[in-house]
Symmetry: C2
Subunit: 351 residues, 2 copies
């Protein structure tokens, strides 16, 4: 008698859980980030904070409009990333930081979870929207990754829009460059391999918009109504990075990964650590192979493994059921999300 | 009675198995590859085959000498790869193929399974041993990956040996370049994204030393007496590749990965597919997260996933217990292995 009762009870509870699960599954989900770092309230003026929140909302709106109309996750993340690349406030596209040689070298990558098709570019100059070039490499070239002048020549054959140095010059980033330059004999160029000691000391480490001297990246991940995932990332890299340095943003499996079997991830942080930890692939592998939830997998990599290694940063991730995660082990991360069930919401600080 | 007998029998069998396992665990293991492709007996003269087998044995000997003396897996794979980079018979270092612009652009990467430290270079010219530059990036720079002229400038600060164009010019590879050039309006430059249709048709596809026009790579993985793993890869990339194309060889997680928790992998094949499948990391993730054996994980990625995607090639892998795997889905793969328990053995064909 007791057994039958408890069996029936269990049956109802299970059914209830299933129905709850069903009704909670969103038709589409879009998550974006604009970089992670030492971002705290005392470091952003109310005006600047409002400006950034407005741009994050504009990026979400651009992507959601496509998803709502039944467009692809690939188109949605491309649109959202373009909005952030066009803002001088994020370290990507127009707002890119300067290398040790005073240039802007841009990295970007994109991946389609339906086919595992991917495209990436690294060290490209004067490309207005690197995410569009990464997508062109994926869709129009026989290759997955192209670098430097070779990638720029390919861009020309594809009619990718360019912009002159002046477009990428913001006094703000140049100030950061000058700040680093005065410390050029400092740890950053010591080549001692101790990443944590590379920071040009001083103001830049407290710089909320740079999201730490070494961070600042934009990215987006999405699930569309067809159940497909996509991820994309774009960055100007590290302020005063050595000419030729490639971070995690253009590396498929490190800064960007999407697979309809598991999830889509875009990362922002100290790229060297993110490459070594194969962050984006690793989060999806934990879901795919050990049955962890998206939140469990994302937290394990960002809040445990990266913290143990000393890798500062965060990720945005969405899984095939529309669940999303946005863990970061820094003071803040510019971020936002919207689903068919939740209104757009942007965040900057931990709380 | 029957139960007790069978229990005792099981106990003995288990003990036997354990002891067998124990005695079979090698003190060190070294596995190398020199590229995969359509390599069949009818395409190699006895002289050329003997020459290549000799060089593979020399690479194994150089690495084993270090492992036998208690040296690190990192030093062993570096030594083995240098031997193959110095041979004109493999598409790496001296024997590198030519890009569409008639240049040699070299890619290489290395990873230390103890610390997950890694170094990689892509698109570097006139570097005699790219594996040494990748290692210098890992040990002497604050970065993990460097490309092009920036990487070359860094090489100069580190006293990395360079070589002039003549050193890299082999009539053999130049012939392949000319062959591809005559087909420059062919599929390779169609940018139709259909990788399988890019092959410059003709002799190159039957070219055993090129291991298919798009292959040819050298790599090594090892376990040392301290129980540490390391992996390294070096290549000239695809014959007639577009200037700026980056393959899987310099991508940590795609062409190279090492982690003492699981395994060390070096890949050779059609790089675009290997990047999209995050091959090296994926094999180790399958071991680490779903408890597959090295052979099971390697076979699943190379003989199933890559075959379904249309990605030709193979990998060499060694796990933390010294087990090794060398699956390839092509006609042949230049390869060799040696352990503290097995004499050096090299192979070329399937049988």
């Amino acid at each position: 008698m007791w057994l039958r009762t408890s069996l029936i009870l269990t049956l109802f509870l299970t059914l209830g859980a299933c129905m709850k699960e069903e009704t909670q599954k969103p038709e589409y989900t879009l998550v974006i980030h604009g970089g992670a770092g030492t971002i705290t309230r005392d470091k952003l003026t109310p005006e600047k904070e409002a400006e950034i929140r407005g741009e994050l909302n504009a990026a979400l709106a651009a992507g959601e409009a496509i998803l709502k109309d039944g467009g692809t996750a690939l188109d949605a993340i491309t649109a959202a990333i373009q909005v952030m690349e066009n803002s001088p406030n994020f370290n990507a596209g127009r707002g890119a930081v300067f290398t040790a040689e005073g240039k802007n070298e841009l990295d970007s990558s994109i991946m389609d979870g339906r086919t595992l098709d991917a495209g990436a570019v690294s060290g490209v100059k004067n490309i207005k929207n690197p995410i569009l070039l990464a997508r062109a490499v994926m869709e129009k070239s026989p290759h997955v990754m192209m670098m430097g002048t070779g990638a720029e020549k390919f861009a020309a054959t594809q009619g990718i829009e360019t912009a002159d140095d002046a477009y990428f010059h913001t006094d703000y980033r140049w100030g950061q460059y000058e700040d680093a330059k005065t410390k050029k004999n400092g740890p950053l160029l010591d080549h001692d391999g101790k990443a944590e000691e590379e920071a040009p000391k001083g103001a830049m480490n407290d710089d909320p918009l740079n999201g730490d001297y070494k961070f600042g990246t934009v990215g987006a991940v999405a699930l569309d109504k067809q159940g497909s995932l996509a991820a994309g990332t774009s960055t100007g890299g590290m302020t005063y990075k050595m000419h030729g340095r490639v971070g995690d943003s253009p590396i498929i499996g490190a800064g960007t990964y999407a697979n309809n079997k598991s999830c889509a991830v875009s990362a922002t942080g100290h790229g060297e650590f993110f490459i070594r930890a194969t962050v984006a692939r690793n989060v999806c592998a934990l879901m795919e192979y050990s049955g962890k939830s998206l939140q469990q997998a994302a937290d394990r990599i960002v809040m445990q493994e990266l913290v143990e290694m000393g890798g500062d940063g965060g990720i945005i991730a969405v899984d095939k059921d529309g669940n999303y995660a946005m863990p970061f082990n820094t003071a803040g991360m510019f971020r936002g999300h919207v689903t068919s069930l939740e209104a757009a919401k942007v965040g900057i600080y931990k709380d």
